[in-house]
Symmetry: C2
Subunit: 569 residues, 2 copies
């Protein structure tokens, strides 16, 4: 550092301190989802990924969850760009909500850019991102940083690890990755770039922890191809329905190829399946011979053994193609004993029941179903233990931060790094919002905390969702509501009959006797109230609640939400 | 059949028809849970098992689900007894709700009887069952039936297959089983009884389908013992916490034995763990040396390496021992880096998230955690594919009904039976309530349907729970409620200000502007109403709802439940 000792009253020492490198994940730590990490050095910040997360079961009525952008908005003027590792929702899905508030360039592959554009349209933002398209091996300058894009393998094409070259040293952010030695699209992970970085010296490695619990290596996508080949041969007389992730365009490519080899045409079903295949065709990521894709009408006219239906719904999503087929409510595709259904996916944690119910319904349609339990019909997109060790071996980082995992994954990955020789005091299990500050290149510590609570999105309402709303929903969901309206005249006596209604309560029953009991409880509260001349009006609702609660307490586990409305005339 | 041609106006043919054998599952088909099957012949009915099921996620506020007992209550006078295969909740848990209405003897092992008694006490029924205790090899007469109890292996001691000897032939009901060649308690499955039955001829086999998707054989419980041995040796300096199913008393026995070998004492945590161990000690199912069980106080005073804590909570149940420890809210046990926690169980489908959250919290306490992903620390209690084939080989049934499984399991098990040579037309995938009627011993068909809807239990309210209540709860859970009270005078004009309250709605926000908008919508409805002299009073709530809905429609995904209360003075 050079320069005068004192600028604007800030000493050189202060300025130097201000220019420490920091890393701050606003999401993705202790969770799989809403990945977003901020890197800062002096007046320059960059962001890697900006994803969403699907809600927990107890987040009633919530559509999804995004990171808190407060820290970004406060430092908006410093942000030199958002860098996208790949186009999955947990890495791009929060952009429609956060990007318009920051209005900074987005560096990403053309495929990720197309997926982001579709998200922007869906969310009706009217905002047009300033895309700066990149390819593997590209290097981009952003303030004092240089960001390098390194080819990796994952369950979507164009997945990158990012190297953030900072004045304090190089940071490798693995993105979501695996080392697939035989990828479908031929784009192998760039082992040599990682090795070169290791030779040059890596300050910090942040690495995907999703599959740290799995021993060995994640099988190659190619293996799935062999399974499909076998199933297509075995069930050569049936119509074949394949459900998979619409973003897994390498699998899509493989299914198209297998279909062509078995002289079958492909019908696409599901909005995102159609949209993603169209996007991939436009960008040249996918290449399908003329006439290989057919309409529902054409599929109807072809014999069963000439048709493959490629559909959404591998996670049992309620309104997806496969689920509507399984319910018999799909407009174009009716399933029966002529069909083989292949679910080429594993349930994402939390979706197990939805998938299982879908499989049961598919069997009930009479179809034969090949799913998780049966065959090698899916491989993960994330590195298993041996590959995580390879990543550590290639990059040999001084500091290590496990990322993209639940807390247990981060602990296991930290244990692994320690076993691999990373100094225990240089390994940090961070929480969302932790600001990890580096002093030069030899010392780091958590030196602050940015706001990083989850922001819940209900519908497309932009903004925060108060926790109290969720609590109220949970209470009503468990026990229902009892609504009471009383009208009082000047001397605090009832001017009309008490009105009581219930919803979702065991007291909703037709049997009026309970309602009459509740009514008498309310009348008792009113009588008590009119006898207490000193009582303040505001306390009456509490009194009504109390009396009703006493009456309901005869059933010790019935606690509806009680809403009294008192009108004075 | 002999006897006069005509008795009480019923012909011999009619009587013969009435005396057809039937089998009717009221639960347990297409689901894992609430097992209950009725067997009938003429005027004699018997019931096998009477279990509960835990609710699906969308059954808001429901504690559990039991079978519909209508068919049983209607035929109460014919029921000769309820026969219990084993003491798991999905086989006994509905007894407190159904048994008092039938008041028939219960045939079961002493262990199952003890567990049923505890359930009866918990549910506060005040009913004392008429237990008839049985042991393996016992035969019991019940009307025209003879029921034989056959020793099997399962994840609870004293698990039986039942053979129902009927005038039309023998029915083998497998119960929940596996063939464990080296069971902890030495009670091996009675292969030879099954083989003898096969030789004598089995009319119908009903067999456990839970693990039909798993190839090979389910490992022996003994394997777990080896894993424990290894872990106890490896973590010899730590306190060891083991969470498992409290009913798996063979595992409990094994943990006590391992603890004793490593010179550790055992502290029991969790109500059901304490209750079940006490019961097993009383019955002699478990045998623990004097002084081997210690109090929390004593555990506190011993060094870490002398203590094992055996606790409930292996499924992440909210108020269980392990979960309270993981939250730091357990009164007696505080976890830290000195602890090894072993979760000796697999998440039951639907509990994955709860277990995963618990593991994350345990790691966050600083404990080392061994769970599913790591080690061989749990084996299933259900037969895998090879064992299911063995059951079919031994019994060689003429008819086959797969049971105890989701629909997909039943289909796979039916396919397996067909491959094993059972005639396809003699295999029936039944639904709950289906009455499978046998004509002699060569023909069977579904010839009727008994009521078999799920009965939902909220708290300990006995009786049915209306579907509409659940629907209302779901609606409120998704979007909250808006409650409106209006007071009108004789000429249908507002006599007081409109009152509006919301709960769990995005419109609950402090910002009063939306509430004012809703108020103006209500006033518009009232104005419209008073201008329409012909309008009937009953239609006003609908009009209010409509106007509010219109106002809210500006946000297309916000559909709160709207509850209008109109008072006329």
């Amino acid at each position: 550092m050079t320069g005068p000792d004192n600028i604007n009253g800030i000493s050189r020492r202060e300025r130097k301190k201000k220019s420490d490198l920091f890393v701050c994940p606003l999401g993705g730590m202790g969770e799989i989802g809403k990945n977003l990490t901020v890197f800062g050095y002096g007046e320059d910040y960059i962001v890697i990924d900006c994803g969403l997360k699907f809600p927990e079961e107890d987040m009633l009525g919530i559509d999804f969850v995004i990171p808190d952008a407060t820290f970004l908005v406060e430092n908006k003027s410093k942000i030199r760009g958002i860098f996208i590792t790949h186009g999955h929702e947990d890495h791009i899905g929060a952009l429609p909500f956060i990007l318009p508030r920051l209005d900074v360039p987005v560096y990403c592959s053309r495929l990720a850019g197309g997926l982001i554009e579709n998200k922007m349209l869906d969310a009706n933002t009217g905002y047009h991102p300033d895309f700066r398209y990149v390819e593997a091996c590209d290097k981009v300058s952003a303030g004092c940083f240089e960001v390098e894009f390194i080819q990796m393998c994952h369950s979507i094409p164009d997945a990158f690890a990012l190297v953030v070259h900072t004045p304090a040293g190089a940071i490798v952010h693995s993105g979501d990755f695996k080392f697939d030695p035989t990828p479908i699209d031929g784009n192998r992970a760039d082992y040599s770039a990682l090795a070169r970085l290791g030779d040059e010296g890596v300050l910090l490695l942040m690495s995907d922890s999703t599959n740290v619990e799995r021993p060995g290596s994640t099988p190659s996508e190619k293996m799935i191809g062999q399974t499909f080949e076998r199933l297509f041969r075995l069930y050569k007389d049936r119509r074949i329905v394949v459900a998979t992730f619409s973003s897994n365009l390498n699998r899509t490519r493989m299914i198209f190829a297998t279909a062509a080899r078995f002289n079958r045409k492909v019908l696409l079903v599901g909005r995102s399946m159609v949209a993603n295949v169209e996007l991939a065709l436009r960008l040249g990521t996918l290449d399908v011979p003329e006439g290989q894709m057919i309409s529902a009408q054409e599929a109807e006219e072809l014999p069963d053994n000439r048709v493959v239906i490629l559909t959404t719904g591998s996670q049992g999503e309620p309104f997806s193609g496969l689920v509507m087929m399984s319910r018999g409510t799909h407009r174009q595709v009716k399933l029966g004993s002529k069909d083989l259904v292949i679910i080429s996916a594993t349930p994402i944690p939390g979706n197990e029941k939805l998938v299982s119910q879908t499989v049961n319904r598919l069997f009930a349609c009479g179809a034969e179903v090949i799913y998780e339990r049966d065959e090698k019909i899916h491989v993960s997109g994330h590195a298993s233990r041996d590959e995580l060790m390879l990543m550590l071996s290639l990059t040999r980082p001084r500091f290590f931060v496990p990322c993209h995992g639940e807390y247990r994954h981060l602990v296991r990955h930290a244990q692994l790094a320690r076993e691999m020789g990373v100094n225990a005091k240089n390994i940090f299990i961070l929480q969302n919002g932790d600001i990890l500050k580096f002093s030069g290149s030899s010392k780091a510590e958590v030196a602050g905390h940015a706001p990083a609570d989850a922001v819940l999105i209900d519908g497309f309402v932009l903004g925060e969702f108060e926790g109290s709303i969720l609590r109220e929903r949970r209470e009503m969901a468990e026990n229902g509501v009892v609504v009471v309206s009383v009208v009082l005249n000047g001397d605090m006596r009832p001017a009309a009959p008490v009105q009581i209604q219930t919803r979702g309560s065991v007291y909703s029953s037709e049997d009026g006797s309970t309602l009459r009991e509740l009514e008498s409880a309310v009348l008792a509260a009113l009588a008590q109230f009119s006898r207490s001349p000193g009582a303040r009006r505001e306390t009456l609702p509490t009194e009504i609640r109390k009396r009703i609660r006493e009456k309901l307490d005869m059933n010790p586990r019935c606690y509806p939400t009680i809403i009294p409305l008192v009108t004075y005339i």
